[in-house]
Amino acid sequence: MAKSAANARTTGPAGRRIGRWNVASRIVAAVPANYLVTSLATACLARLLAHGLAVNPAEASVTATLLSFAIFATIALFAFGLRSVSRLWLWLAVSGGVLGAALWLSLGMGGRL
């Protein structure tokens, strides 16, 4: 399986060879990092709707949960579609950081945000 995996990734975008590390780092971005960012986005959206826009909390939570699968799938596609791995990780780190800070602030202020 490992050998066939190596066969399959002979040439990548623009005909460059895709290295083992490139693929490994994209897999980490597409699965665990993606789940983390998606979870943060889902929680933030649920808070924003419930506290920022005064939506019923159950409705807010369910809206965010329903959207979460679309968010996850989109990030997974970007993890393999973006040409540059460093740009991919920059995007993930920035969005994870912003969402994480927003959630921390919102939870810290106890329902006022």
Partner: protein, 520 residues
């Protein structure tokens, strides 16, 4: 730039599809069969005929439960719908009593409340549960695994769409006997024709277990899940037994009241808490076939006086959307026309996954350094493909055959029916491992064909409801079941013949390479 994106998406499609493809194949196959789970159950309980009235069935079930579990904390009565004839009851043992096995606190009843025990089977319900609970492994692990597979499926579908260049031109193209090109066509046609179905079913499948996979939206607004559920379903009030016995109100009038409140829709579910006690409650839920939304209407009644009790459920656009998504996935609302469309789309999805798995090996065989001695990874994929694409359906056929062939008096009979499925699957896997793949393909497909063809024959020999008799009696359920078995047998036989011919022709047929085939 665009070519680069398509190539990376092709890579993503190939590997997400392969990694969980075998599990997805089994999920698609059993999920598809689950659209006819009530019909399969009726076929597997041939002694039971006719239809059942929900009110009569509920009265029968209450009589059974009053005899069998008078002290239970609660009774759950799942009533027959318009397609089934039996009532499923469960009860929760009284506090202090030890909890037994599932079989000790559940029963299948006929309309008059007598236990159905002639042929112990889990019927179509087993295939439905396998679809998301799998078997032999803890349910929790199974559901996470199934969720990961579903997410891979969603990513594979989306990357497959991006990869596919001429999605509409290829819509009408199916070229037979062209080796790799034909496999690609089969994959594309089954994928594209039912594309809206595949997207819908995968996304809504994730939604059915969303709270498990993505709990953070709820965690952000609620201290715990109970608080969320109370907000959605109304506060659950578990009242302890008072110890003062009081006769339970008759359920029939309550069911008629509930039905009338729902424009005459059937009652699907009755829950009775603290039966026989002065604190008894009766909770009545609308049958799931009554509307698309899975979260149906409910009415609670006082279990002694029969007066309606307050029961408020949250309403809102998101909750309604979720309810409809789950309802769309399960398809319980579907009438027969739509139900067949669901079934055919599911079958298309099963073929899509199966042909995708086969395509992986067909495409790579031409690039192997020595096609006659492939490396381990290639051989493993090939063996697993045979075991899954031919072996799993063969297992389902064996499940149906075991239902007819195992002695009726056998202990744990229902479990042995299920074991037959997995033993057959295992046997095909072992066969695929020990035989050269080129021979194992036609043999395993031939076995699946033979087993499916045997189902109507064995049915005719062991019951009085064989195909000729069903045709004469106008018993369309049994006729359709036997015919579907024969169609599946013909499909697998055709596959076996083609695989055998391919072996005779040698690898020449797979040497053909087309530019589109390489891109996809």
């Amino acid at each position: 730039m665009k070519e680069g994106l398509r190539q990376s998406m092709a890579l993503l499609h190939t590997w997400t599809g392969l990694l969980l493809g075998w599990l997805l194949f089994a999920m698609f196959a059993t999920g598809t069969s689950a659209y006819f789970q009530d019909e399969i159950t009726r076929w597997m309980q041939p002694e039971i005929t006719g239809s059942a009235d929900p009110v009569t069935s509920a009265e029968g079930a209450v009589r059974f439960l009053q005899r069998t579990a008078p002290d239970a904390t609660s009774w759950y009565i799942s009533l027959p719908n318009s397609r089934s004839a039996t009532t499923q009851v469960y009860w929760q043992a009284a506090e202090g009593q030890k909890r037994g096995k599932r079989a000790d606190t559940s029963a299948v009843l006929d309309q008059s409340g007598r236990e159905v025990s002639t042929r112990d089977t889990r019927g179509g319900y087993f295939l439905y549960r396998f679809h998301f609970d799998l078997h032999y492994i803890p349910v929790l692990w199974a559901r996470y695994l199934v969720g990961v597979a579903a997410m891979f499926m969603l990513v594979a579908i989306l990357s497959g769409i991006i990869t596919h260049k001429k999605i509409f031109a290829d819509f009408f193209m199916l070229r037979f006997n062209k080796g790799q090109r034909s496999w690609l066509d089969a994959h594309n046609v089954t994928a594209v024709i039912a594309l809206p179905f595949h997207l819908m079913i995968t996304f809504t499948g994730l939604v059915t277990l969303a709270i498990m996979y993505m709990p953070w939206g709820i965690a952000a607004n609620y201290a715990d899940r109970t608080a969320f559920q109370d907000a959605v379903f109304g506060k659950s009030v578990d009242v302890a037994r008072s110890g003062n016995p009081a006769p339970l109100v008759a359920v029939a009038p309550l069911m008629r009241t509930a039905s009338a409140a729902w424009d005459g829709k059937r009652v699907g579910y009755v829950k009775i808490t603290n039966p026989g006690d002065s604190t008894a409650m009766v909770n009545i839920a609308r049958a799931s076939e009554g509307a698309i939304g899975s979260r149906g209407e409910e009415i609670s009644f006082n279990g002694i006086t029969g007066r309606p009790a307050d029961h408020s459920m949250a309403k809102g656009a998101a909750l309604a959307t979720e309810s409809v998504m789950i309802g769309l996935h399960a398809g319980r609302y579907a009438e027969y026309g739509l139900r067949w469309l669901y079934f055919l789309s599911g079958l298309g999805g099963t073929i899509m996954v199966g042909s995708g798995l086969v395509l992986w090996t067909v495409k790579r065989r031409t690039k192997l350094p020595d096609p006659n001695h492939p490396h381990f990874g290639f051989r493993l994929v090939e063996k697993l493909n045979i075991a899954t694409v031919a072996g799993f359906p063969a297992g389902i056929a064996a499940y149906f055959l075991a239902n007819r062939l195992l002695p009726l008096s056998m202990a744990e009979r229902a479990d042995h029916e299920i074991n037959s499925l997995f033993l057959t699957w295992l046997a095909v896997f072992v066969w695929a491992v020990v035989r050269p793949s080129a021979r194992a393909w036609p043999e395993a497909l031939g076995l699946a064909a033979a087993l499916f063809a045997a189902v109507p024959v064995v049915n005719a020999l062991t019951t009085s409801r064989g195909l000729p008799a069903s045709l004469l009696a106008g018993d369309w359920l049994f006729v359709s079941f036997d015919l579907v078995m024969l169609v599946l047998a013909a499909g697998f036989a055709k596959g076996a013949r083609r695989a055998a011919r391919k072996r005779a022709e040698g690898p020449r047929a797979v040497r053909r390479k087309t530019p589109e085939a390489m891109a996809a």
